[in-house]
Symmetry: C2
Subunit: 341 residues, 2 copies
Amino acid sequence: MASVVSDKRGTYVDLEGHTVRKYDFLQLSKIPRLEFDDPNVESIIANEEPVLLVNSNIISSALKWDLDYLKKNLGAGSFSVYSSKTCKFMYYDEKRAKQWPYFIPPTQRIHMKFEEFCSRVRNLKASDSRVYLQQMLDDSVGKNIVKDFLEFKWQWLTEMQRKMNWGSLTSNLLLIGLPGNITPVHYDEQQNFFGQLTGFKRVILFHPDQFKCLYPFPLYHPCDRQSQRFPKLKELKGYEVIVGPGDVLYIPMYWWHHVESTMNSGITTSVNFWFKAGPTPSQITHPLTAQQKVAVMRNIERMLGEALGDPHEVGPLLNCMVNGRYTENNDENDYGADVLS
Amino acid sequence: MASVVSDKRGTYVDLEGHTVRKYDFLQLSKIPRLEFDDPNVESIIANEEPVLLVNSNIISSALKWDLDYLKKNLGAGSFSVYSSKTCKFMYYDEKRAKQWPYFIPPTQRIHMKFEEFCSRVRNLKASDSRVYLQQMLDDSVGKNIVKDFLEFKWQWLTEMQRKMNWGSLTSNLLLIGLPGNITPVHYDEQQNFFGQLTGFKRVILFHPDQFKCLYPFPLYHPCDRQSQRFPKLKELKGYEVIVGPGDVLYIPMYWWHHVESTMNSGITTSVNFWFKAGPTPSQITHPLTAQQKVAVMRNIERMLGEALGDPHEVGPLLNCMVNGRYTENNDENDYGADVLS
């Protein structure tokens, strides 16, 4: 199908029966969809390439986590809900946001009881701000949720963690979103098993070597690890996949990912499993991988901020180090060329 | 006097009775000329600012080092002589030159007996390559030179070294040049007392904060610490001074300097005293000095070369880290802006 629909918020197309945002120019291949016990799964994950695991039962105990079930069982705690005037929910670091001049937060974070969130979702008018619940699961949740959580296929998860030599599981983020909600393209510094519980999401991924086309904000910027702009959209080569209930997508560390809730599958619920990276290999081989280069660039930015004592000095120093020195075509007025040399 | 003379090699003007190269646009102030025992000398050197010391007797035992005296006393060793088709003698690292593709050495280094050098100098025709002797003084020199050397004012030198907390004296370079010979603008990583023995030189200096206008070659380039080009010549703010027999110029570490033998003072002979930098202060205060920023940039370039395993990867990685991320006005085609964000 090639049906195209438009509303105030954008233009949508059909992708395998799912209504998703239309992106011109993007060159996207498919992510492999494999049975979780397919013998190729391990080598793909070991290569840090994304793969969609189907029929895994890893998260099947939570497939019943719709709004009604969660309202009954999630508990009386307070939940972190982002509110946005657009369909985009760009992450930002709240501590850094306060220190960064002229920064306007793209979303607002509010805290509310789960019941209030459900009421907001059910009564949402087109003119209202959109909401996206993003809450780390902790021991404040009700006992049924704890039970479901303990029934995740931990044996498979910890076995994979051991085989891949990853570090500890750091957190499980519960995400509850509305149709059309978008988490803009960014990368994380952890390995991620992204489990889909209700509704469908479309995930677009880019290899870490596409960093040069994605222009992430400076490391000390509140929007670190997110793209600033897309002047090289036509050069980008990526992947996409639709994830549905029960699917688990491996999102390798440093891989860029854009996640959108499809327009025609209702409320989307997802839970992800973030693992720390494994230790740096004792033997480094050259040339470095794209992932290692991203890590090197992050280290340089971090060290410069520390050495200079002010994150806002990192840019001027980097420009001084690069401009006209490492740039091939210096378009500055060169009338003084050779005069003193 | 404002007399201007020109020859095939350039245009010259009169500066305090000395015929020097004419540089348009350069904004140059004077370097202070102080008696070596002036009470201000120490604080100027402690501030790492250049100063010309006169009437110091620091090197007076070597004022007789003209070609005749040196021919008799310098010894039968082999001397390092650079040969250039222009009046410019840009330094380059010979080891790196072999590894750097497409690099054409700006000068040739040859070895010759001192007698041969003298004969080359005396019989030089205008069409010949120019020569510049640059030889580290070592224990192969004749006993009269050793005696003169030992009569340098070492007490003052070592006292200054101690007060400034500099490291050890690493070398003394003997320079013997022809009228009009130029050492193009560069900086050194050592503290330098530059002693003038015969003839006059004009030295132009720039503060380390002028790095951004001087575009030094990449650290791993054979011409590390030298300027690539001068597009910001009009913005440069510098200093100049004429040094004559007996004068000692303090050239602080990381200060840019251009040195030219005047056209009307015959053969120029100089000897410099290079000292290692003092230890890094245990307490770093912010903002960093321009010198510290140069050191930071050098460390980043060095670390990147090591991490990437190939100096030629430093530029692409730095560009990837800076372009469109830390650059304020990104003039790339931005038609994809905001599309994925």
